[in-house]
Structure formats: C-alpha cells, structure tokens
C-alpha cells in the first residue's frame, strides 16, 4: 500500500529485514520486506513472482485437451480444483453436458482434495508456529501421514499422487477402480478419528490460543474489498461458499454445513477449516452412497488435438477450492485453443490482504498469519 511504502526504510530506529524468498515459513518463495521497530512490524512490502511460469500465455498455446493436466500445476496442493475450473469454463462456453456420474466423481475428488489440502495446511501452519524442532513437527508429520492415505486413493484412481489430469472437457478421464469405494470409506473413517487427535492437541490448548487468538484480524469489510475468499472470508463473518451460493457440478444434491466465524483472526480461520474437514468427509460419504451408474464422459475419449473445439464466447467458471474461489476466465475464438485465459488464484487475492493486516504485529505473528492464510505460491504466481 502507498501509505506503507512511503515509510523510510533507513530510519534510525528501524531495522529492515528480508523474510524470504528463501525462508522456512515463506510457504514457497515469498519475500516480505519487513520494517521493524524492535520486534514490531511497522511496514511490509510483499514481493511475489518467483514462481511465475507463464500459465496464462501457455494456455493460449495449448489445446483444450492438453491444458487440464497442466492446470493442476497452478495450485499443486489442490490440483483437482484448478483442473475443474478450467474444464468448467470450457464446458460453459461450449454448453457441453456432463454426465451425472462424472459430476459426482468430480465432487468426490474435489472434497478429498480439500481434506488433503487442509491437512497440509494444518501441518505446515503448526510447523510455522511450532518450529521444525518442536511440537509443530509432530502435528505436521501426523497430518502428512493422513494425507498420504488420500494420495493413495488418488494414486489408485488416477495413477498419480500430486498432479492428476483427472478432469477433461465433458467429464472425467478415469472411472473408479474396484475396491476404491471401500478403501475410501476406511480412509474417511480413519481421518475423522485422527482429526479428533489433532483437535485435542490444539483445540483449547493454551499455547495454541496464545499464538492465534486476536492475531491478524481481517474485518469483513476489508475481506470483501480485497477479494479475500474461501475459509478466510467465512472466518471474517461472511457466509459465502460457492458450493452453496452458486452450486456447480451437482453440489446442490449434497447436504453440508457452511461454517462461519465472526472474529476474523487466525483462530477463527482454524475453526472454520476444522469444520470444513468434517463437512468434506460428509460430502464424500454422500457421494459414495449415491454414486449413479452411467458414463463418465459425454464426449468420446480424447484422440486428437482438434477433438475439442469450443465456440466463440467467453465464460468465467468458479470453483470453491480449499483456499477459496478458484476462477478461470476463458475467452474462446472458436478454435481448439483459448484466445485468452485468466486464472483468478485464490491465494493471490488472499495474499493481497497481508500488507493490510501485518503492520502492527510482531515477527512471530507474521509466520502465524502467513500460515493461516495458507498461500500456495504456484497459484499466486501462476
């Protein structure tokens, strides 16, 4: 912000400190130029772009059949969500129908992905606050241990653990293998039980509360103004969830609660996400119970580049990813490649709130706030 940048970095009582681009709590490559007075931060300048990989230019050169597997690389922690946003944008312009089974499978993988992503968030956040040589590592490794189970599910479904290429225009590429439903149910039961363990380590834990209560408060007005989305927006008292407010991919068929907290601090974000864990598990169970039979794609399997052609037009498709609104704005010109594509990365907007909330807190709070924002730099820089 302008008022922040005008502060003199060379003030005699002030210390300018670079946090990042290589820093254990940068969650990737993020550089925050902090101006400190003692341990208190008076100004911050956020520098991003270290992980820029020209996704938007790349999308203009790749066909609709090729890009979904690349789209997973924007938000590599929640690859399913960005893939879905891209194919949904193309489906919107072309008005391709998607079979019910494919829609349910999309919901299932997206909710599994949300659990996996939130597990990684909880782990890395505790790692930020507890240190690599302390209790944070314990929580981190427990979370990773459970996340592996979900990655195993994806591996037996798709064959890959991180970047899936599961979605395609008109449906999904893979049907579930035999035994997958049972494996999924066991995993969900296990994770639900382990969530209780994390909560007994963190919930009402005086140490944890000291670090999170009242830290990094985002008011609902600021959140909307900056475009903060997802759990952060809900923790600031705005009851808005795309799955509920603008249902896509048959989300209207499922029952789930949208958690809202009004405090807007780190602890509120934690509470929102902890509820989302359980709601996602609930949705996955509903999908598994009600999975309809039928084809998984309305279009024949991809054989050539020119197979998917999208008519002239434009669309903005939005998906409620684990970090918030993952949007894909697509302008098509009638060929097999988009004319222009824009990613609205959830982390990009979420991160943009940092310069507004960091001044005034201490160095130790910066890592707690960064962790609670849960940025993925693949999505910030694209």
């Amino acid at each position: 912000m302008s008022e922040v940048r005008e502060i003199d970095y060379t003030g005699s009582e002030r210390l300018t400190m670079n946090m990042g681009p290589q820093h254990p709590s940068a969650h990737g490559v993020f550089r925050a130029i902090l101006t400190l007075e003692g341990e208190k931060i008076v100004a911050v300048d956020a520098v991003i772009g270290y992980l820029h990989r020209c996704h938007e230019k790349l999308a203009e050169t790749l066909a609709y059949v090729q890009y979904p597997s690349i789209a997973s690389k924007t938000d590599y922690v929640a690859a399913m969500a960005s893939e879905l946003a891209y194919v949904m944008a193309a489906e919107k312009i072309g008005q391709f129908e998607v079979p019910k089974r494919a829609q349910y499978l999309r919901v299932a993988v997206n909710e599994l992905q949300r659990v996996a992503s939130h597990l990684l968030w909880l782990g890395t956040w505790c790692l930020d606050m507890g240190g690599a040589l302390g209790g944070g590592t314990s929580v981190f490794l427990y979370c990773i241990r459970e996340r592996e189970q979900i990655l195993d599910l994806f591996e037996s479904l798709v064959g890959a653990r991180l970047l899936y290429g599961f979605h395609q225009v008109g449906g999904v590429r893979y049907d579930i293998p035999t035994g997958w439903v049972e494996q999924c149910r066991t995993t969900m039961d296990l994770i639900e039980q382990r969530l209780g363990e994390y909560e007994s380590m963190l919930h009402d834990n005086a140490f944890f509360e000291m670090r999170t209560r009242g830290i990094g408060v985002i008011s609902s007005q600021l959140a909307q103004d900056v475009g903060v989305c997802g759990p952060l927006l809900r923790a600031s008292g705005v009851k808005y969830d795309l799955r509920r407010n603008a249902p896509y991919s048959s989300y209207e068929d499922f029952e789930f609660a949208v958690p809202v907290e009004t405090e807007g601090d780190c602890h509120a974000r934690y509470r929102v996400r902890m509820v989302e864990f359980r709601e996602s598990i609930r949705i996955v169970r509903q999908v598994l119970d009600g999975l309809p039979e039928g084809p998984i794609s309305s279009r024949p399997g991809v054989k050539s580049l020119a197979q998917v052609k999208v008519p002239k037009g434009e669309a903005y498709a939005r998906v409620e990813g684990p970090r918030g609104e993952v949007g894909c704005y697509l302008v098509a010109d009638g060929t097999n490649k988009p004319y222009r594509m824009k990613w609205r990365g959830a982390s990009f907007s979420n991160l943009a709130v940092l310069p507004h909330i960091i001044p005034g807190v201490t160095v130790a709070d910066v890592v707690a706030i960064m962790g609670s924002v849960d940025p993925v730099f693949g999505e910030v820089d694209r």
Partner: protein, 150 residues
C-alpha cells in the same frame, strides 16, 4: 437487490451499455466513466466483493479491461468492461474504490502494459523490474524453437 434491478439501475446511466442475458450483469463502460461506475456499483448495488480484474488484447481493436465485482449477500455479479480503444493504454484505476484492485492492476500492467491512472504503486508484480515488454499482448513474440510454443 436483484440482478434485474441492478440491470435496470445501470441502464439508466448514460453512456453505459448493459449486455442482456447471462447470470452476470455485464456492463460496457466508457473508459472515463469507469471509476464513477465502479463506485456506483459498490455503493448502490452493494457489490463489495472484488473478484478479479484483467485485460484482453483484441489485437487491432486494442485492449479491453474486465473487472468482476460481486454482491455476496444477494448473489449479483457485475462485470465492468471498458474498451480502451486501439493504441490507448491508459485506464482509470479502481484502487480508490476497491483495495483488491491494487495487485490485480499491477498484474494487468505487468502483463499488458495498461497504465492505470491513480494507482498508488504501479510496479511490475510477477515479472522482474527489468523485464522488456508485456508478455500477454498478442504482439509479444515468444521466441522459442519448440513447436507448440512458437
């Protein structure tokens, strides 16, 4: 407030063209009116949520900026589109209205070279400061021998 009411309100403003159809209210705004319309949309229609803004390069027809703003309570999406015209790269900034436009407009400047007037801090955001050109322009040559990226 509903989408229809928003449409009606916006079509009363002279100079605006409200596109019909679609769930989102798409408004074509003359460049000079952009900031005032944005303020109107925020205050009167209640679109407090700034989703994103970007630009499109229409080659010979010049650039067009697009901004999505939303009213989360009533589920209204308003799309503000402004054609800059061929050869024109100046556009009023939305930062005084929406703080979220700050980084988004920096990105648009970075990628398209759009000069946002009134932006407090118009620097490159994703690319390095010494980068030449604005890569998402259609005229920007991707100089690589590899076939799909030529």
């Amino acid at each position: 407030m509903t989408s229809d009411r928003a449409r009606a309100l916006l079509s009363q403003i002279t100079g605006l063209t409200v596109a019909d159809g679609g769930p989102a209210v798409t408004v074509h705004v003359p460049t000079e009116q952009l900031a005032s319309v944005a303020a109107f949309v925020k205050e009167t229609i209640g679109c407090a949520f700034f989703a994103f803004s970007t630009a499109i390069d229409h080659k010979a027809d010049g650039l067009e900026t697009v901004a999505y703003v939303e009213n989360l309570d009533d589920n209204i999406t308003v799309v503000l589109r402004a054609k800059l015209g061929a050869g024109n790269i100046c556009c009023p900034s939305l930062v005084p209205v929406y703080r979220g436009a700050n980084w988004m407009e920096r990105e648009t400047y970075d990628m398209f070279g759009v000069q946002f007037e009134g932006h407090p801090d118009l620097r490159r955001i994703l690319l390095s400061d010494d980068w030449d050109g604005h890569p998402l322009l259609k005229s920007y040559a991707v100089d690589t021998p590899y076939p799909p990226y030529r």
